[in-house]
């Protein structure tokens, strides 16, 4: 029988990480993600893992860099301002081809902003954020159940492609409680081996982990090989959900908490006889350009709804490429629109 528990999104993501074989966690307090840090402090040592409350987000991500280099599944979590501090480290992880899972429970910004749910870190998460020409796999859950599942997927994808993976959640998802069927425990010893890891040069040549290559030709070669993997990820790992898109006249595109609200909007619209559908990106990078493009040829408008001034909107417009109008509806500063407010916007288009 599937084990179901009532948990907050933060707790579920922490427990899912332990079950995925995460054995090191490094974090720093910041609202609204503190329950991840606290859950790890309480439970990771019992699972044989190492928990450290770091002196800063900068230190925490660099501890992840070390633990990942040592071949152990590692995670850190934070919220928007703290993720800004981690970007240097994320760039180094990307440059050194190190796997790592980073959870961002987004809050209102910029600056100190507030602690309410927002989606203002989309650019930061999907367009690099830190310096250099790199990508991070970005997964956007919309329920506590999905958050738990995507954490496991993030570890697997990050290990497989040696690319850092980010869970882009928000304060609503982190704080809300829902019943969740937790994934099974995985023994770290059964995970695929990492022959590149720093385990001591015993009976082999030394392994070196670095993001450094002084000769431009060498660095270009490293970048080209990494971008080859990015292309593979873009070809194989795009994930999304469609709701009532078959005959839709208006297509909503929304992710995370906003994607969940958009589902309610679709249900109410259909109840009123309006042909409205939803495409909810689950991977924000790689972005589901192709399915949006395909639907754009069949609908009258693609409405992007976000808790931002319109960040994912840019990717939606890249996908649609002028095939139909691409209006935008957004809220900022931690304000979350009600389904009725979004529905009113939909009705103007339908």
């Amino acid at each position: 029988m599937t084990e179901r528990q009532l948990m907050t999104g933060n707790e579920a993501m922490a427990e899912a990480a332990i079950r995925a074989g995460c054995r090191t966690y490094f974090g720093y307090p910041i609202t609204p993600q503190n329950e991840i840090l606290e859950y790890m402090a309480a439970h990771l040592p019992a699972a044989g893992g190492a928990f450290v409350q770091a002196e800063s987000e900068v230190a925490a991500i660099n501890m992840c860099y070390g633990a990942s280099a040592a071949g152990v599944r590692t995670m850190t979590s934070s919220s928007s301002p703290g993720i800004s501090l981690k970007l240097e480290g994320i760039s180094y992880l990307a440059g050194a081809d190190l796997p790592c899972v980073i959870v961002n429970v987004m809050r209102g910004g910029p600056g100190l902003g507030n602690i309410a749910p927002a989606q203002g870190d989309y650019f930061q998460a999907t367009k690099g954020g830190g310096h250099g020409d790199y990508r991070v796999i970005v997964l956007a859950p919309s329920t506590v159940q999905e958050a738990a599942e995507l954490v496991g997927l993030a570890f697997d994808l990050s290990d497989r492609y040696r690319v850092p993976a980010m869970i882009l959640a928000d304060g609503m998802l982190g704080q809300m409680m829902e019943p969740v069927a937790l994934p099974p425990h995985r023994d770290p010893a059964t995970l695929p081996p990492k022959p590149w890891a720093l385990t001591g040069a015993k009976g082999r040549e030394p392994n070196y982990v670095a993001s450094f290559a002084l000769d431009p030709k060498d660095l270009r070669e490293l970048n080209l090989r990494r971008h080859e993997r990015y292309r593979e990820i873009a070809a194989r790992e795009v994930r999304w959900e469609e709701v009532a898109t078959e005959d839709a006249h208006v297509l909503l595109v929304a992710y995370g908490t906003m994607g969940r609200i958009a589902k309610t909007v679709v249900r109410r619209a259909r109840g009123e006889g309006l042909k409205v559908g939803l495409l909810r990106p689950i991977t924000l990078w790689p972005f589901p350009y192709a399915p949006i493009r395909e639907l754009a040829a069949r609908v009258r408008a693609v409405l992007t709804v976000e808790l931002s001034a319109g960040q994912m909107w840019e990717d939606v417009r890249l996908a649609v490429e002028g095939r139909c109008p691409t209006p935008f509806y957004g809220e900022m500063g931690g304000v979350v629109p009600t389904p009725d407010e979004v529905l009113a916007e939909v009705k103007r288009l339908a």
Partner: protein, 251 residues
């Protein structure tokens, strides 16, 4: 040691160093420190379980000079990276090799907190009172009045502060097992520094805890001094600001 009819080899390159050529300037102490560290790794027989964390700066290539696993850390973050490695795999011997800009300016927080947690790592702190790699700018350890490319009229303590005494700062904490300051300006001090590095590593192997070996190093290029004069400067002036000797030994 290989023997011939008439000669016995009594001195050789440490086995735990690779053949890769050092990129240091002539007369620089970094090469000597690397050699001392390699010798200590050999002596303790830990080459197969050591991980060297290289900093940003003149020692940025350090991870490739040891026949040990190695990792290159972001500027100032070596102590955090070393923490991550050690926590992930406590059986490894983790050495963080850092200069003064790296350890005592941008990495001060990571340095203090790794020491305060008593991370079972060995920190080799190369204090040459200057940013070497970037062209000789003022470091937190630059002496009062010392001219650098970013303090061309000399370090003015009124606006730039006094040299930061890292070993003293770390020694004020309760967790560190061994904190010492050494120099390399003559054979006697090289021998003492060698014993200090060996002790610091031995404490880690024996799972005692954190140690920091601060080494007063020269920078003939950055100081614009011939190597011999640079060594004399350390003996005559630098040791007055940064006194030599063990500050903490809880082993």
């Amino acid at each position: 040691m290989p023997k011939t009819e008439t000669m016995t080899k009594v001195f050789a390159r440490p086995r735990s160093l690779t053949e890769k050529k050092f990129t240091y300037c002539p007369g620089c102490h970094h090469g000597l420190i690397t050699r001392i560290l390699g010798g200590a790794i050999d002596k303790l027989g830990i080459q197969e379980r050591t991980v060297v964390v290289a900093p940003v700066g003149c020692a940025v290539f350090a991870y490739e000079w040891f026949r040990c696993d190695g990792v290159q850390a972001a500027h100032g973050r070596a102590a955090a990276v070393a923490t991550g490695i050690k926590r992930a795999n406590p059986d490894l011997v983790v050495i963080s090799y850092q200069g003064d800009g790296d350890l005592a300016a941008i990495g001060t927080a990571e340095t203090i907190h790794a020491a305060n947690r008593g991370e079972a790592i060995t920190v080799i702190f190369v204090n040459n009172q200057i940013y070497g790699m970037t062209g000789g700018q003022m470091a937190p350890t630059t002496l009062d009045g010392q001219a650098t490319t970013s303090s061309p009229r000399g370090r003015d303590p009124a606006t730039m502060g006094h040299p930061l005494r890292v070993a003293e700062m770390i020694a004020a904490l309760q967790a560190p097992m061994y904190v010492t300051r050494q120099a390399l300006y003559d054979a006697k001090h090289i021998a003492q520094a060698t014993r200090a590095v060996e002790k610091a590593l031995r404490y880690q192997v024996e799972k005692r805890g954190y140690s920091l070996v601060e080494i007063l190093a020269n920078c003939p290029t950055g100081w614009k001094m011939p190597p011999v004069k640079a060594n004399e400067h350390i003996a005559a002036t630098v040791t007055g600001v940064f006194p030599l000797g063990d500050l903490v030994d809880r082993g």
